[in-house]
Amino acid sequence: MADTGEGKKEEADYKRLHSFPLIRHTDMPEEMRVEAMELCVTACEKYSTNNESAAKMIKEMMDKKFGSSWHVVIGEGFGFEITHEVKNLLYMFFGGSLAVCVWKCS
């Protein structure tokens, strides 16, 4: 019992600890990267229950700011192989379990 209690506590702990946005791979320039990351965090927090709306928000904002056409995938379990324009890719983790991949390709 103590073990499971501790296990749950650990889980909650790591969720708390691991919820900061962690960029896994990117080749964006500095300002673009920072903006995109902020945008992703905002969207995911706002639509924490609905990945689709979060993705929609991110995609529309990116299109407006950096030109068409952007693609956004948010999820917890997926694999992908994409072709992206150079210097327009961001792949990051957030919230301990969410993975966000944003890339531009016309």
């Binding site: 790591y14 691991h18 962690l22 791979h25 990117t26 320039p29 999820g75 917890e76 983790f93 993975a99």
Partner: protein, 588 residues
């Protein structure tokens, strides 16, 4: 004539009857005018003013007649204008209807009074142009997003952060964290770095590959060629010339020192300066590698000529250098600057005469790097690198016995001999030999600073080089400008072997692979290789190495690993030669 008559040429059209008609188109100029006139004439008829009517009618008739008689519309138009004006004047006293007609007449006149004009501007010629922009560069990327991947990434990140927190002070923490985040992205950021730095490594490899292509046969000789004719040569050997190293900036500077790097067997350093007292210029320090014979890897320049250099055994990127103006310096190859890392100066006790040789020693008790230098000012100085500064300690002053002079106030002044070379014993740490300009060789110990252990009356002229035998602990060799090379046992006052080489000997070196092989170079451009186990009196190989007669050879060094020697000459060239098998016999 009631038959058919053939006519030779028949017009397409044959006119049978022609009548000139007097029909006018209703809508044309005259037609409209006539109809208006007729209507006005009719209105006049209906009114009560008889004379006007008649006059109007007559005028109308006159008009019509006039209209009919002419055929030209234009002239008609003008005449009808005049006529209509006259008619208007007559009709001026009329009631409402005529004014309306007059207005119509006026309008009509303006309407019909136009000339059609057309023209065409020049059209610029057209040309088709097509272009396609470059497609935006695209790259592929693939990854998997799984809960465990995410977890792992976070754990790793946290660990990194903890580690950095443990290492850095609190102020630097924030900066370090940002740096780490950037560090993670280094692999992707590298693509953003300057194109030139990306290419530099590949360019270097390409340069070496191209050089290998150019000097391919030499490289093959270096690796594989063994002179088969050595068997027939009755113990004598040859030196096969391989690469020749030269650099434009060192064209006139003599090679004053060469040394192989202890770690990288293909890297060697060449010091350039001038032996001529009158012609002192700047000095250069170049490092070449055998892999790239056409350009030095590192180039350092200095204000005064480089006279000697030495690599540190444990830190192969540190080089100690002695200059003609008496300074010593330490160059650090790892740093990208072309200036020495540490340099002595007049106030830190530099020599007053050229420094002829420097040698690294083992780190002293406080783990500070130190090296020795010998110079013509008669001092042997130990330099220690203490807290980024060179501190000097006079180890020995080479006092010449029996030559004390009386100074101005009754002081006894010791004249100092001029040291020209020295060598430390390989095993016995404190024991070393110093050769001087007077031709004496002193055996000294680091512990005794005023007295020598022994003196050898070695040569008649300056001793250019002394060297302990790497295997035989008692034997050393010395060479001098008095044309001789002498081999000694340090316990015996007289030399064991004396070789007269017919020309001033610039340098002598033991071979690293055998205790009985050594090589000497003379100022007449020849290199001599001896093997004492085979022939005690004659050289196994005497070969002219440098082509031009005016060129003197200054230094020779054996490569510790490969069977090659490098020889430096006065023109600033370094030639590498391969020893033939006869010269390379290992002792049994």
């Amino acid at each position: 004539e009631r038959g058919y008559r053939p006519i030779s040429y028949v017009d397409q059209m044959a006119i049978h009857l022609s009548l000139n008609g007097n029909m006018i188109l209703k809508d044309s100029d005259e037609g409209r005018r006539q109809s208006i006139k007729l209507s006005t004439a009719l209105s006049f008829l209906s009114s009560e003013k008889a004379p006007l009517e008649t006059s109007a009618v007559t005028s109308g008739e006159a008009e019509i007649k006039e209209e009919e008689s002419t055929g030209d519309t234009q002239t008609e138009g003008s005449r009808t204008a005049e006529v209509t004006e006259a008619a208007e004047a007559e009709e001026a006293e009329e009631a409402e209807e005529p004014p309306r007609l007059r207005v119509k007449e006026k309008k009509l006149a303006n309407q019909f009074n136009f000339i059609e004009r057309a023209s065409r501007t020049l059209n610029n010629p057209m040309r088709d142009r097509a272009c396609q922009s470059e497609p935006t560069p695209c790259e592929s990327f693939s990854a998997t997003a799984n809960p465990w991947e995410i977890y792992d990434a976070y754990v790793e990140e946290l660990q990194k952060m903890e580690r950095s927190k443990a290492k850095e002070k609190p102020k630097a923490q924030i900066a370090k964290r940002e740096e780490e985040k950037k560090g993670r992205k280094l692999n992707s950021l590298e693509s953003q770095s300057d194109d030139r730095t990306k290419i530099s490594k590949t360019a270097k490899i390409m340069e070496r590959v191209v050089n290998q292509n150019i000097f391919d046969d030499i490289a093959q000789d270096f690796k594989y060629f063994e002179d088969a004719s050595d068997e027939y040569r009755d113990q004598k050997g040859t030196l096969l010339p391989l690469w020749k190293f030269q650099h434009d900036k060192t064209e006139r500077l003599a090679v004053t020192a060469i040394s192989w790097n202890p770690k990288y067997e293909d890297l060697f350093a060449v010091g350039h300066g001038s032996y001529d007292f009158m012609k002192q210029g700047q000095g250069m320090l170049l490092l070449y590698t055998l892999k790239n014979p056409s350009f030095p890897e590192y180039v350092f320049s200095s204000e005064s000529g480089v006279m000697c250099l030495d690599f540190h055994n444990d830190h192969p990127y540190l080089m100690a250098v002695g200059f003609y103006d008496g300074n010593v310096a330490i160059y650090n190859l790892k740093k990208a600057t072309s200036q020495p890392s540490y340099k002595s100066s007049a106030k830190s006790g530099k020599h007053t005469e050229p420094v002829w040789q420097v040698k690294w020693q083992k780190d002293d008790m406080e783990n500070n790097l130190n090296f020795f230098s010998v110079s013509s000012d008669g001092r042997i100085v130990s330099w220690t690198l203490v807290k980024n500064e060179l501190v000097h300690t006079d180890v020995i002053k080479l006092s010449v016995e029996g030559t004390t002079m009386k100074g101005p106030e009754g002081l006894q002044l010791q004249t100092l001999g001029c040291g020209t070379s020295f060598d430390f014993h390989k095993k016995i740490d404190y024991l070393f030999l110093v050769g001087t300009e007077e031709g004496k060789i002193y055996k000294c110990s680091k512990c005794y600073s005023s007295q020598f252990l022994d003196v050898f009356e070695a040569h008649h002229m300056a001793v250019d080089s002394v060297s302990w035998n790497p295997y035989h602990l008692k034997v050393f060799i010395s060479c001098s400008s008095d044309w001789t090379v002498k081999i000694w046992d340090h316990t015996v006052k007289t030399p064991m072997f004396v070789y007269d080489l017919n020309s001033a000997v610039g340098d002598v070196a033991w071979a690293p692979y055998s205790s009985t092989v050594f090589a000497a170079v003379t100022t007449n451009g020849k290199a001599h290789v001896f093997d004492l186990s085979i022939n005690k009196y004659e050289a196994l190989c005497t070969q002219l190495v440098v082509a031009k007669k005016k060129n003197k050879i200054t230094h020779i060094q054996f490569n510790p690993v490969y069977p090659i020697v490098i020889i430096g000459d006065e023109q600033g060239h370094v030639t590498s030669l391969k020893l033939s098998p006869n010269l390379r016999k290992m002792p049994k």
